[in-house]
Each structure stands twice: as structure tokens, then as C-alpha cells.
């Protein structure tokens, strides 16, 4: 029997040992369960990865929807994990104790202890003190078997560690390998040679989303435009833009952030008209100075009226700013009063003068300018006067009025006054051109001319009547065409027939005026029409009049038994033929087809009016030269000399097409560089190929937004006209267009 003190220490010992052991068992239980969970989870993950790998491989052989592989992977992983977690449930304290006994054989003492503990826990009402002793003895037995409580603990811990390693090593390896394989499979480039149709790929077919845009190293900049002071336009702060429109003479500044750029190159593109005349593109390039300001840098430029490109470079990064410079145009003026030239008998009175002035930015001054010339024969003098000068403060549209006092001008008979309105805008340039109107001339008649019949210019030809008639006919036809949908066919036919009869009558009248004979008779007295039996030397081909090839350019014919035709009024001949076409279309009740012919006839009559004013002041003296006598009668002879060749014009369209194609090839690899080159090309084409520039604007837009731009490229190429369909000729070289 133990003493109470011994019993208490024994009891303490018992309590210590038991609780120690039980705690150890619980710890081991928890660890074993954790290990089993981890194992189940890792095997499940590994299985899922492997299944996914297998399905990815299978996708390349047979088409499979992508959700199938995910479902398969998840399903497999979940199923396997579920199966394996069944083990977890099987791990209870008893089994833990059993396992611990395996590591530290104690004759099933531990197992029994735990079993009893479980029973104790289950049957609380039947707690017996007997169990305490039992427990103590069992715990002791275990600890003795282990060789000490601390050693027991240590043994358990070591075993647990070994178990965890052993149980988890393979699953984790499995997981790692499958994840690694999966990663390699996804990221490695796909080997080629798969059976896929080689669809025709256009260079712009698969443009990646424009990620390059977001990596512009130059960074955002602020662009400010300060127009010249005289224009009165407000200053603009534009922010981060790629293209600017500025008046010539403005100050353009770019404020950027970061380190200063290594270079800012300015290229001004000469317009194509000048280029054609000087025989080539002249691109003047210069570098701008960059100054530091605060945290950033600033570059300043004075603009002119040419398309200009600013290229900012820093290291390998480049950014473009495109500048469309436009010039200040000179004022536009039209002279309202006096309405036409006139001849005055006496130079007295006041003549009202009026003209309208218009400028895009603002006028500075306007006046009427007169040049008075007097003299005759070889001696002429002239003086210049200004009347009605006004100054303006940037008005855009004004009417300038003045009154000309003819008495104060002291005009003598025979003097001529040339009058026009002149205005200047506010542009400060020294050699700035002034805008001017048409000139009217006023002539003071000489006394000798009073009785002469030919004081006035030749009387207006009879075709003036036709002019109004042809214009009326055109208006009536256009009205008929507008009404066509609302009227019946019979009404259309009737109206059309009436118009065609009027047109025919007019045409016959014009036919009379076409010929002018040497005898000076006006054709009205000796009427000729086509097909009247006389030989005019003009054929009627299908109703129209055609000139034979034997006639020379000036229209002098030597044949015919009438007096030779010395002048065939060619414009009136064109009018005749156009009227014939119009008449025929109207006969067929087709007013729409007649309208263009009528317009041609009208234009031809206008030209005839202008061209028929020959011999204003009587015919010049006729000098008859006998060429046969003088031919090569000269004593001297010339020398052989050589002609300098003309320069070839730049093949504008071909060069542009080459650049467009180069940009298209660039678009797949480097969209931002392609965007820049197309933007520059657009700027250069603004002057002489505006259609192409418009098409390029859509290309620039497309490149900036990313996405499919094949169509816009093709359209731009078509617009440039580089590709045309030729005739299917047998000639292998291709014929003339």
C-alpha cells in the first residue's frame, strides 16, 4: 500500500502520464487526419491536372468543346479526392493508438487505454474509480514501454513526421509534375503542321489589339497654338493630340514630361504643284531646339502654310505630331457699280462706285484704284488715283461705296479710265498681295468718233436671242424632268415633243450663224443650212455637222463654188451638234438624257459669244505675203542647236502606292509605326489627292483603334488608282488606255 504522499505523487504521476499520453494520442490523431486530407487533396489536384492535360491533347485530334475538358478534369479530381477522403473518416483515436503501438510496441496498452477512454466518454454515468487505477497502470505500461514519457512523445513525433513525408511525398510530386506539364503545354508555341486550311492571309488579317499604343515612351504632351497677333484668333491649348491645324505664322509649342528628347526634327513638305514645277519633292528638314522647363521639356516652332511633320525622338522611341498649316488668303472683291464698261461723250457728273469686300480673317483697308491713260499713237501717259479709301478693324464682310467726281479728274477726249477696287487684309507681310476686283474701263470718246458707226464694239450677234432661248429650253426641260413621276406618259410625250420642236427651230437658227463668208455678208441674208445643195465643205454625219480632215485649224476652205468660208464658228458648230443630240433625246420622250446635251450647247454658245468679238476697231490692214517667193530667200542660215530635255514628272501615284503597301506590311508587326507612316502619307497627299487622303484617314483611324483593317487598305489602294482593269486584248504588251 502506498502512503498518501506517495499516493498523491503517484496520483500526480498518473494524471501526468495519462494526460500526457492521451494528449499525445490526440495530437497524433489530428496530424494523421491532416495528412490524410492533404494526401487526398493533392492526389485529387494531380488527377485533375492530368485529366486536363489528356483532354487538351485529345482536343487537337478530335474537336471537343472546351467546357468538356474542364468538366472532365474537375470531375476526375473531385471523384478521386472523394474516394480518398473516405480514409480520413476511418482514422479515429483507436486506430491512431494502434498505429502508435506499432511504432512503440506496448502490448496493446495504449489501445486499451484509448478504448477505455472512449467508453468512458460514451458511458458517462458509469464512471468508475476503478478506471483511474486502470488508466494509471495502462499509462505507466505505455510509458515504460517507450522508455520515458518524453521519449514516448519524441518517438511519436518522429514517426508522425516520417509518415507525413512518406505519405505526402508521392502525391505532391504527382501534383508538381502535372502542373508543370500543364504549364509547359499552355505556354509553349504550338508546333506547326496541323491540318488547317491555309486561308489566304492578308497582312492586316490578324492584328493584335493595339497594345503598343499604351507603351509610348515619349509620354503625353501638351500642344499649344498661339495664332499671330494680327489675326485676332484666340490661343488654343490642345492637350495630347497627334495632329494640329494652325494658321501660318502661329507659334506652336509642345510641352512634354520626362527627360528632354534627343532630337526634334521638323520636315516641311512642299506642295505638289510647286513640286511638279520644280521637278521633285523638296523636303526641307531642320532640327528644333528643345529647352527644359520645370520637370519637362518644351519645343517651339513658327508654323507656315505647308504640311509639316514634327518627329520627336528620345532614344529609340519616336512620336509624330502632324501639322496642317493653312495660309491666310487675300481678300475677295467683286465690283458692283459700275456694272459694265462704257464710253462717255463728256466727262462730267458723279459716278457711284460700289464693291463688296470679303476676307477670311479680317480686312484692314479698301479703296478704289483708277488708272487714267491719255495719249494716242505712240505716246501714252498714265496716272494713278485712289478714291474712297477706308480703313477697317478686322471686319470680314463690308461694302465699300464712293462717288467718283468726273469733273475733278480733268479728263480729256480720248482718255481711258481703268477702275477697280483693291483691299488689303491685316497680314503684316511686306510683300503681301492685295485683293482686287475686275476692272471696268470708261472711255471718253473723241469728237471724230461721234459720227462713226463703229464707236461701240461690234453689235452683239444674233445668237443672243438664242442664248435666252436655250437657257429657257434648259429650264423647261429640267422642270419637265422633275415633274416626270407625277404625270402620265401621254402628257410627258406631248410636252417632250413640243420642247423638241422648239429645240429644232433653235438649232436651225444656229446653223445659219455657223458660217461666215469672205464677202462679208452675214449669213442671215444668204441663208445656208446643211444639205441645201451647196458645198460648204462640211458634211452632215448622222444629223450632226462634222469637219473633214482637209480643213486646217483656222477654218479656211478653198473649195466650194460659193465664196469660200473664211470662218466656221466652231463653238456654234459644237452647239449645233449638241442641240441635235438634245432634240433627238426629247423626241424619244427622255428629258433626262437631253439635259446634259443642252448644257453643252449652252456652254458652247457662251464660248461663241466670247470668241466672236474679233476686229473690234475694224479689220487690220491686210498684208499679202507670197510665201513661195520668199521661202529661204534669206542670206543667213541658223545653227544646229540642241534642246535640253524635260525632266520627268515624279510618279506620284506609284511612290504613294509603294508607301501604302510598305505600311500594310508593317501593320502586322508594328501597328504604331504603320500608323505613323500612313499619317505622314495622308498629310503629303492632302494637296493633290484629296480622295486618297480621305481614304487614308479611315486607315489611320482603323490602325489607331485596332481590329480589322484589310478592307480600308484595299479601298485606299483602289482609290489611288494604281490598279485598273485593262481590256482583254490579244496584244501581250497591253494597249493604250
Amino acid at each position: 500500500m502506498t502512503t498518501p504522499a506517495l499516493r498523491s505523487t503517484a496520483r500526480e504521476r498518473v494524471t501526468d502520464a495519462t494526460s500526457l499520453v492521451l494528449a499525445s494520442v490526440h495530437r497524433a490523431h489530428a496530424t494523421l487526419r491532416t495528412v490524410a486530407w492533404a494526401r487526398a487533396a493533392s492526389i485529387g489536384v494531380g488527377a485533375a491536372c492530368s485529366v486536363w492535360l489528356v483532354t487538351r491533347f485529345a482536343e487537337r485530334l478530335w474537336a471537343m468543346p472546351s467546357w468538356m475538358s474542364i468538366v472532365a478534369a474537375l470531375g476526375a479530381g473531385g471523384a478521386i479526392s472523394a474516394v480518398l477522403t473516405r480514409r480520413v473518416r476511418a482514422i479515429d483515436a483507436l486506430r491512431t493508438a494502434l498505429w502508435m503501438e506499432e511504432q512503440t510496441p506496448a502490448g496493446f496498452a495504449l489501445v486499451t487505454l484509448v478504448e477505455r477512454e472512449n467508453e468512458v466518454a460514451r458511458a458517462r454515468a458509469q464512471v468508475e474509480p476503478f478506471n483511474t487505477l486502470m488508466r494509471e497502470r495502462l499509462a505507466d505500461a505505455y510509458i515504460d514501454a517507450a522508455g520515458g514519457s518524453s521519449r514516448a512523445d519524441e518517438l511519436v513525433r518522429t514517426s508522425l513526421r516520417a509518415l507525413a513525408v512518406e505519405r505526402l511525398r508521392d502525391p505532391l510530386l504527382f501534383v508538381l509534375i502535372s502542373v508543370a506539364l500543364l504549364a509547359w503545354w499552355s505556354l509553349a508555341p504550338r508546333p506547326g503542321g496541323a491540318i488547317e486550311h491555309s486561308a489566304s492571309r492578308t497582312p492586316a488579317g490578324d492584328i493584335a489589339p493595339d497594345t503598343a499604343r499604351s507603351n509610348v515612351p515619349i509620354g503625353a504632351w501638351r500642344v499649344r497654338v498661339l495664332p499671330p497677333a494680327y489675326s485676332g484668333l484666340p490661343a488654343q491649348a490642345l492637350g495630347d493630340v497627334e495632329s494640329v491645324r494652325a494658321l501660318s505664322g502661329s507659334t506652336l509649342s509642345i510641352d512634354g514630361t520626362g527627360t528632354s528628347p534627343s532630337a526634334v526634327q521638323v520636315r516641311a513638305l512642299v506642295d505638289s504643284v510647286t513640286a511638279a514645277r520644280t521637278g521633285g519633292w523638296a523636303i526641307s528638314a531642320r532640327a528644333l531646339r528643345v529647352t527644359r522647363s520645370g520637370n519637362g521639356w518644351t519645343a517651339t516652332l513658327t508654323t507656315d502654310a505647308l504640311p509639316t511633320e514634327l518627329r520627336v525622338t528620345r532614344g529609340t522611341a519616336t512620336r509624330l505630331l502632324l501639322l496642317e498649316g493653312y495660309g491666310d488668303s487675300i481678300p475677295r472683291i467683286s465690283l458692283r457699280l459700275p456694272v459694265r464698261d462704257s464710253v462717255l461723250r463728256r466727262a462730267t457728273g458723279r459716278l457711284p462706285l460700289e464693291s463688296t469686300l470679303h476676307d477670311d480673317l479680317g480686312l484692314a483697308s479698301g479703296t478704289f484704284e483708277l488708272i487714267v491713260s491719255s495719249g494716242e499713237g505712240e505716246r501714252f501717259t498714265a496716272r494713278t488715283l485712289r478714291v474712297g479709301a477706308r480703313a477697317y478693324a478686322r471686319d470680314r464682310d463690308v461694302t465699300l461705296r464712293a462717288a467718283l467726281n468726273l469733273d475733278s479728274m480733268q479728263l480729256a477726249p480720248g482718255d481711258i479710265v481703268h477702275l477697280r477696287a483693291v483691299a488689303r487684309d491685316a497680314h503684316p507681310g511686306a510683300a503681301r498681295e492685295a485683293g482686287s476686283s475686275e476692272t471696268r474701263s470708261l472711255r471718253v470718246a473723241r469728237p471724230a468718233e461721234y459720227d462713226s458707226v463703229s464707236v461701240e464694239p461690234a453689235p452683239p450677234p444674233e445668237v443672243d436671242k438664242s442664248l435666252i432661248s436655250q437657257r429657257m429650253l434648259l429650264m423647261l426641260t429640267e422642270k419637265l424632268e422633275q415633274r416626270r413621276l407625277r404625270i402620265t406618259t401621254d402628257v410627258l410625250k406631248g410636252e417632250s415633243a413640243r420642247l423638241s420642236r422648239d429645240q429644232t427651230r433653235l438649232r436651225l437658227a444656229v446653223g445659219d450663224a455657223v458660217f461666215q463668208r469672205l464677202s462679208g455678208e452675214s449669213s442671215a441674208e444668204h441663208a445656208h443650212t446643211a444639205g441645201d445643195g451647196h458645198d460648204h465643205g462640211v458634211e452632215a454625219v448622222g444629223g450632226k455637222l462634222a469637219l473633214p480632215g482637209t480643213m486646217s485649224a483656222t477654218g479656211m476652205l478653198d473649195e466650194g463654188d460659193d465664196s469660200p468660208v473664211i470662218g466656221i464658228n466652231k463653238p456654234l458648230l459644237e452647239a449645233y451638234n449638241a442641240m441635235w443630240d438634245a432634240g433627238r433625246a426629247l423626241e424619244q420622250a427622255d428629258p433626262r438624257a437631253a439635259i446634259p446635251h443642252m448644257r453643252v450647247a449652252l456652254a458652247a454658245i457662251e464660248r461663241a459669244r466670247a470668241a466672236s468679238r474679233l476686229y473690234l476697231r475694224g479689220k487690220p490692214p491686210t498684208v499679202i505675203l507670197d510665201l513661195a517667193r520668199i521661202r529661204l530667200a534669206g542670206k543667213d542660215t541658223g545653227v544646229t542647236n540642241s534642246r535640253s530635255a524635260r525632266r520627268a514628272l515624279p510618279p506620284g501615284a506609284a511612290a504613294r502606292e509603294a508607301r501604302l503597301l510598305a505600311a500594310a506590311e508593317l501593320a502586322t508587326g508594328d501597328p504604331s509605326a504603320a500608323h505613323d507612316s500612313v499619317a505622314v502619307l495622308r498629310l503629303e497627299s492632302l494637296a493633290d489627292a484629296p480622295e486618297f487622303a480621305r481614304a487614308l484617314a479611315t486607315v489611320v483611324e482603323g490602325l489607331r483603334n485596332g481590329g480589322e483593317i484589310t478592307d480600308v487598305f484595299v479601298r485606299a489602294r483602289r482609290v489611288l488608282g494604281g490598279v485598273t482593269r485593262g481590256p482583254n486584248a490579244v496584244w501581250s504588251r497591253g494597249g493604250p488606255p
Binding site: V83, R86, G193, I195, S198, S200, P203, K544, A546, L547, P548, G549, T550, K570, P571, L573, E574, N577, A578, V600, L632, T637, G638, V639, T640, N641, S642, R643, A645, R646, R647, A648, L649, P651, A653, A654, E657, L661, A664, E665, T710, F713, V714, R717, G721, G722, V723, T724, R725, G726, P727, N728, A729, W731, S732, R733, G734, G735, P736, P737
Partner: protein, 463 residues
């Protein structure tokens, strides 16, 4: 429960083993099913891809099978598109290896062919022509984009491109014909034989502005003349002899300036001659000219300002000789007037132009007449100019390895030459292709079954 589990295990084991045995049996039996003359059809889809790897794999599989057989089988192809050049070459090899190959034509691209000629123009340019025999849409494209398309390939299409790059392709359905765009040729000078006048002046101006170099001598007086270009001008010596070493073409605007013998010699060397306007008068160039003057054509005043400006130029009425080609004609109410006629004479070409004062087109025509007159004259010279021949190697120096497999420009003809004429589809041919072998299913079943059996066994604790 346990017995049910055991039953399941046993069943799975049997299934797995059975599947393996079945697969083995099938593998040993396989040659029998493909023995005999039943033709196998290569999938049409596999035949016109450009990489041809799968087709070559299938073909080599077919060859291997044939090698194992005592009676090699044949291959019958139903082609819905002409195969690419590498596939055609593979097919030719297969035929050479002894395999019987026959094909049925469902391509709709019979006679597909494409040709590209470099235009003789200082600004460059290429003329691409293509046609096929069927009435299906035809598309022409180059490396950069589509150039043109027509609804019926039977009509053929000619496309004139100022700057085409890489290769030109004609496509009908899924058949393609390809040809390399030739490099622009080096051009020689043009000799002008004319008297001083507006026609000579503006023709020279038009050609020079288009990049041609014009030489010549305009006789002004008995002992004075104006020389064009850089020919021995200072000393007043005669112009360089007319031969193709220096000149690509000669333009004659007036008669009496050059003899027919000189022009004939030039033509024999391959040069080109243009006889325009008054050069066609008289009998001096009788044998050379491709058209004769039969009258004076009436000009239509005011036509210079319309869409048919050449109707307003003074011109002769020409009658084209037999064997000549009319390059341009103007339509009349009653008939067509030939205005530009050309023919080949010996090695060279002669062109006759009816217009006597084409300069009026430039001066008196519309605003676009300036460019149009230049382009027209440049095209006339280009139609006859002598172009030195360039070999294929010079076309693409250093790229001998990249030469296309032959036959790309006329793929249908190439296919026919390799495989023979197409035949009608055989009656015994299966309408559906044989199912691809499903052997993989057996393997899958076997592995799943065995795996399942093992899992069940292990989870119940048995070894």
C-alpha cells in the same frame, strides 16, 4: 455488398483484358480488311492545304500499305480544288512508285492559268492576266490585297497594276494559280523622226514627262536642225544609228525622214516602230505599216471636252491589214473606226496611229487631258518598245532555292500532266469514306476498366 463489389471487380478485370485481346486480334487482322481492290479515297479536305503534311502522311501510309500487299491497291481522288504544288509533286511521286492513281475533276477550275508581264514604262507596272474555262467567279490578288474579281472566269480578266508586289494569284473556288511579279525592265531611249511642229513638240514633252528619254533631230532649215537628247549634238554629226543597243522604239511623225530599210533593220533586231499621222501617207513604208489610209475621218467638234476626247482629233480612216491587231477603235453609229493598229513584224512590232494632231488633246482638251495624253503616248511606246529578255535567275538573284515548284502558273495543266486525264467516278466506290479506325476506344476501355478494378480492390484493402 462485398460480393457485389467483388463481382464488379471481376467484371472490370474481364472487360479490360477482353478489350486488350480484342485490340490484339484486330491489329493482327488489319491487313485483311484493306486487301483487295477497293479503292481508298483520300479526304478531299486534306488535299489542298499548302503544307501538305497530313496528305503526305496519308500518302506515305498508303504507299506503306501498298508495299506490304502483294497486289497494291489504287487511289482514287475526287478533287474539289486543284492541290498545291507540293501535293501535286507528292502525287506524281506516288504514281511513279507504282500506285495506281486516278482522279475525278470537281474543281471547276479547268484550264486555270495566270500570266504576269512587266509593262514597258519608266514608271513601271505589271499586266496580270488570268482565265479559266468554267463560268465561276475568278479573283486576282497580289501579296498585299485583292486586285480584281469577275463573275465568270471564262471571260478572263486583265489587270494593270502600277505597283504590284510579290506574287500574283488567281483563285477559282479553292484552286490557286501563282506567278511571280516580274521586275521592271531596263528601258532604252526613243528616237523621234519628225519635222518641227506642235505635234513633235508635245509628243516629246509627253514622253519626257513620263520618264522616257527622247532623242532625235528636227530639221529646221537646210543646214540647221534642233537635236533632242544628247546625241552628238555639238558637232552636228548625224544621230546615232538606229539599233536596239541604244533605242527601244522609233516614232515617225512625218514621211521623208527615214528610209524603210533602216526601219526594217531595226525591226529585225526586235525594236518597235510607231507610225503616226502623216507618216502613214505615201508608199515609203508600204510593207511595214499594219494599216492603210482609206480616207479622212470626220472629227466631231467639241468632242475634246467630252469623255471621248480622241473623237475630236483630226485623223485618218484606217483599214487594218490582215494579221494585225486593233488596239483602239472608236465606235460609230454604223461601224467601228480603227485608230490604233499594231502587228508583229519579224522580231519587232509596228504600231500605226491614225491621229494627226494628238497635241490638241493636251492643249484643247479637259484638265485631265494633260495626264491622259502623256499616259496614252507612253502606253503606245510601251506597246512596241524593245525589252531585253531577262532570265528567271536574273529576276530573283540569289534566291534560287526559293524557286517555286514548277507548274504554279497553270496548275490544272500541271495536274493533268502528272496524273493524266480525269475520269468519271467509279461505281464501286463507297459513297462514304470508311470510318477511321476506332482502335483507340478499345485501349481506353481497357485502361479504364483495369484502373477501376485496381481502385476498387485497393480501397477495400486487398493487395
Amino acid at each position: 455488398m462485398t460480393s457485389a463489389r467483388r463481382t464488379v471487380e471481376v467484371a472490370l478485370r474481364l472487360a479490360g483484358v477482353g478489350a486488350i485481346v480484342l485490340a490484339l486480334v484486330l491489329a493482327l487482322r488489319a491487313p485483311d480488311t484493306s486487301r483487295g481492290d477497293a479503292p481508298s479515297t483520300l479526304s478531299a479536305a486534306a488535299l489542298y492545304d499548302s503544307s501538305a503534311r497530313a496528305t503526305v502522311n496519308e500518302l506515305s501510309a498508303t504507299i506503306a500499305r501498298a508495299a506490304l500487299d502483294s497486289a497494291p491497291s489504287g487511289v482514287h481522288l475526287t478533287l474539289t480544288g486543284i492541290p498545291s504544288s507540293s501535293v501535286r509533286a507528292a502525287l506524281a511521286t506516288v504514281v511513279h512508285a507504282g500506285l495506281r492513281a486516278a482522279w475525278t475533276d470537281s474543281t471547276n477550275a479547268s484550264g486555270l492559268a495566270i500570266a504576269a508581264t512587266a509593262i514597258a514604262d519608266p514608271f513601271g507596272g505589271t499586266l496580270v492576266r488570268a482565265r479559266a474555262n468554267a463560268s465561276v467567279p475568278l479573283t486576282i490578288r497580289d501579296d498585299a490585297s485583292t486586285l480584281d474579281s469577275i463573275a465568270s472566269a471564262r471571260n478572263g480578266v486583265t489587270v494593270r497594276g502600277a505597283r504590284l508586289s510579290g506574287t500574283a494569284q488567281a483563285a477559282v473556288g479553292s484552286s490557286r494559280a501563282r506567278v511571280t511579279i516580274p521586275r521592271p525592265p531596263t528601258l532604252r531611249r526613243v528616237l523621234l523622226l519628225a519635222r518641227p511642229g506642235w505635234e513633235a513638240k508635245f509628243t516629246t514633252a509627253a514622253l519626257e514627262e513620263r520618264g522616257w528619254q527622247v532623242e532625235g533631230r528636227l530639221p529646221v532649215a537646210r543646214r540647221a536642225s534642233v537635236t533632242l537628247g544628247g546625241t552628238a549634238a555639238a558637232s552636228g554629226a548625224v544621230t546615232a544609228p538606229l539599233d536596239t543597243a541604244r533605242y527601244a522604239a522609233a516614232i515617225v511623225l512625218d514621211s521623208g525622214l527615214v528610209s524603210a530599210g533602216v526601219l526594217s533593220r531595226f525591226l529585225r533586231q526586235g525594236g518597235g516602230v510607231i507610225l503616226s499621222g502623216d507618216a502613214l501617207l505615201g508608199t515609203s513604208f508600204g510593207a511595214l505599216r499594219p494599216a492603210t489610209i482609206v480616207g479622212v475621218r470626220a472629227l466631231v467638234p467639241g468632242a475634246l471636252l467630252t469623255d471621248a476626247p480622241r473623237r475630236g482629233l483630226a485623223a485618218w480612216e484606217l483599214r487594218a491589214a490582215v494579221r494585225s491587231v486593233v488596239l483602239q477603235a472608236e465606235s460609230h453609229d454604223r461601224h467601228d473606226d480603227s485608230t490604233v493598229v499594231a502587228w508583229r513584224l519579224g522580231n519587232g512590232r509596228v504600231l500605226a496611229s491614225a491621229y494627226r494632231d494628238s497635241w490638241r488633246w493636251r492643249m484643247e482638251g479637259r484638265d485631265d487631258g494633260l495626264d491622259a495624253h502623256r499616259a496614252w503616248w507612253s502606253a503606245l511606246v510601251g506597246a512596241v518598245a524593245f525589252v531585253p529578255a531577262v532570265t528567271e535567275r536574273e529576276q530573283r538573284p540569289g534566291n534560287v532555292v526559293e524557286q517555286r515548284l514548277p507548274g504554279d502558273a497553270a496548275p490544272y495543266a500541271d495536274l493533268r500532266s502528272r496524273l493524266g486525264a480525269p475520269v468519271a467516278p467509279p461505281a464501286s466506290m463507297r459513297s462514304t469514306p470508311p470510318a477511321p479506325s476506332r482502335r483507340w476506344l478499345l485501349y481506353l476501355v481497357a485502361s479504364l476498366a483495369l484502373l477501376g478494378e485496381w481502385a476498387l480492390r485497393r480501397t477495400r484493402g486487398a493487395p
